[in-house]
């Protein structure tokens, strides 16, 4: 069922990332250029959304791809797909930069160079969607949520706020905010599963 869930073309796309990252270990500049062409747009979009400043966002994106180039061994294809790993790296770097700029002072304890393990066995819906379709599907699913619930999730993800800080920002009870975030992500998960 797992293999049957994605088409030959999409399967090739996922394995292509793993192949390219493996080539980085041999200092293959062409492989790096191809990875950049494939993923720089989503990485830059994410970082720009967090930092809201083009020049700073480009500096962070540069750091992210240079870290990939210099420490490609940190990514283990057996521990999960490449693009969620890269996006997690980019988000952590961007939130670090946000705090450095003094816009956010809260200490983040899970910001590390060693990224957390992403799903070792990627969900079926991970491979069933290409990037464009996935973006459309995620936006569509999130738009089905009530605006405050969507806003709470966005404050947590793009601004790095804690439950308490979101509750204060939205002037809502802490328990309500926790439920919004938990239930909203579960609905997103169900929606992506349904897509596959």
């Amino acid at each position: 069922m797992f293999l049957a869930a994605f088409s030959p073309k999409e399967s090739d796309e996922v394995s292509r990332d793993a192949t390219l990252v493996h080539k980085l270990l041999r200092r293959d500049v062409n492989a790096f250029e191809e990875i950049y062409e494939r993923h720089s747009r989503i990485v830059y979009s994410l970082v720009l959304r967090i930092l809201r400043q083009g020049s700073t966002a480009e500096e962070v994106v540069q750091d992210v791809f240079l870290q990939l180039w210099r420490n490609s061994g940190q990514y283990d294809a057996h521990r999960g797909p490449f693009i969620p790993w890269l996006l997690t790296l980019a988000r952590n770097r961007a939130l670090d930069q946000l705090r450095l700029k003094g816009e956010r002072q809260r200490r983040r304890e899970d910001q590390t160079e060693q990224l957390p393990q992403i799903a070792a066995a990627a969900p079926e819906y991970e491979r069933a969607l290409d990037e464009k379709r996935r973006a459309e599907r995620v936006r569509s699913l999130m738009n089905t949520l009530p605006t405050p619930q969507k806003k709470a999730i966005e404050l947590a993800y793009f601004d790095g706020l804690s439950h308490s800080e979101i509750a204060a920002a939205l002037n809502e009870p802490l328990g309500t905010v926790k439920s919004w975030i938990r239930n909203g992500l579960l609905r997103l998960k169900e929606g992506l599963q349904a897509t596959s």
Binding site: K23, R26, R27, D28, V29, N30, F32, E33, Y36, S40, R41, I42, Y44, S45, L46, L48, R49, A57, E58, V61, Q62, F65, L66, W69, R70, G80, I83, P84, L87, T88, A90, R91, E109, D110, Q111, P116, I118, A119, A120, A122, P123, E131, R134, A135, V138, E154, A156, Y157, F158, G160, L161, S162, H163, S164, I181, R182, L185, L186, L188, K189
Partner: protein, 268 residues
């Protein structure tokens, strides 16, 4: 509610990094206990959270960013990408040219310095030889001048010849010539060798009753037993001198004779 159940409630917030410190500590403790079910659920929650990136409005980074990155990466790759051929040299040709020029300049400088050192060594040796030669010539000139002066004293009619017989009959007789203006010359032949650290010293014995001997120069015979000693400025005039005498004294001479008068010759 058990730790397990509590963590499952917090897992989405944990994956987002949105837990407060106390909740996060509790979640960390549960994960550290080795709950594999929760660890797997957390991995999936993290993947789900990463999908939120697609909510960001689409944007394109500048071409300059790509150029900067590729420039850095190519430089770090050591010149050429594997399988890419020689697309761009890591080090520009002009740097290699500069290195080559610097190397040639360094070698030339080292060669020039070595050559200069050799030339300085040759000049220094030549200067040393010339100095030695000049000193030798000066010694010869002095010797010639002394010999000429001695010859003049010895041959001038104004000079007075003084014989100095030895008190010891085994010793040779010495001779002296005293010129009123040019000084005294004393000569000897077949002289025995002197004891170590001993020299001969000339004395002028005054006519004045009770007058002490006037010390004059010291000298010693050469390896053939010959000597010639000249006093250009005697300490006493001839008319006031009764006799010349020679004693054996320590090196450096004495103010008054410390041994018996070995040779004595009256001044007529």
């Amino acid at each position: 509610m058990s730790d397990h159940d509590q963590f499952r409630e917090l897992i989405q917030g944990y994956a987002l990094g949105a837990l407060d410190a106390q909740e996060r500590a509790a979640a960390d403790a549960h994960l550290a206990s080795g709950c594999s079910e929760c660890s797997k659920a957390l991995e999936e929650a993290r993947w789900l959270v990463s999908q939120l990136a697609y909510l960001a409005p689409g944007a394109e980074p500048s071409e300059m960013l790509k150029d900067r990155l590729l420039q850095t990466v190519r430089a770090e790759a050591g010149g050429a990408a594997p399988g890419a051929g020689n697309r761009r040299a890591a080090i520009p040709w002009w740097i290699w040219a500069g290195v080559a020029a610097l190397l040639v300049f360094s070698l030339h400088s080292a060669w020039s310095a070595r050559k200069l050192q050799d030339e300085i060594g040759i000049l220094r040796a030549q200067t040393e030889r010339q100095t030695q030669e000049r000193a030798r010539l000066q010694q010869e000139m002095v010797a010639v001048k002394v010999q000429a002066h001695e010859a003049m004293i010895w041959s001038d009619p104004k000079s007075v010849k003084i014989s100095l017989p030895a008190k010891d009959p085994k010793m040779p007789q010495l001779e002296a010539m005293w010129h009123p203006e040019m000084g005294i010359v004393v000569r000897g032949w077949k002289m025995p060798s002197l004891r170590e650290k001993r020299v001969l010293q000339l004395w002028l014995i005054p006519k004045k009753a009770g007058g002490k001997p006037m010390p004059s120069m010291t000298f010693w015979p050469d390896a053939d037993g010959k000597f010639t000693a000249m006093v250009e400025n005697p300490p006493e005039v001839m008319s006031d001198t009764q006799a010349l005498a020679i004693t054996e004294e320590p090196v450096g001479g004495s103010a008054q004779p410390t041994s018996t008068l070995m040779w004595v010759g009256g001044v007529s």
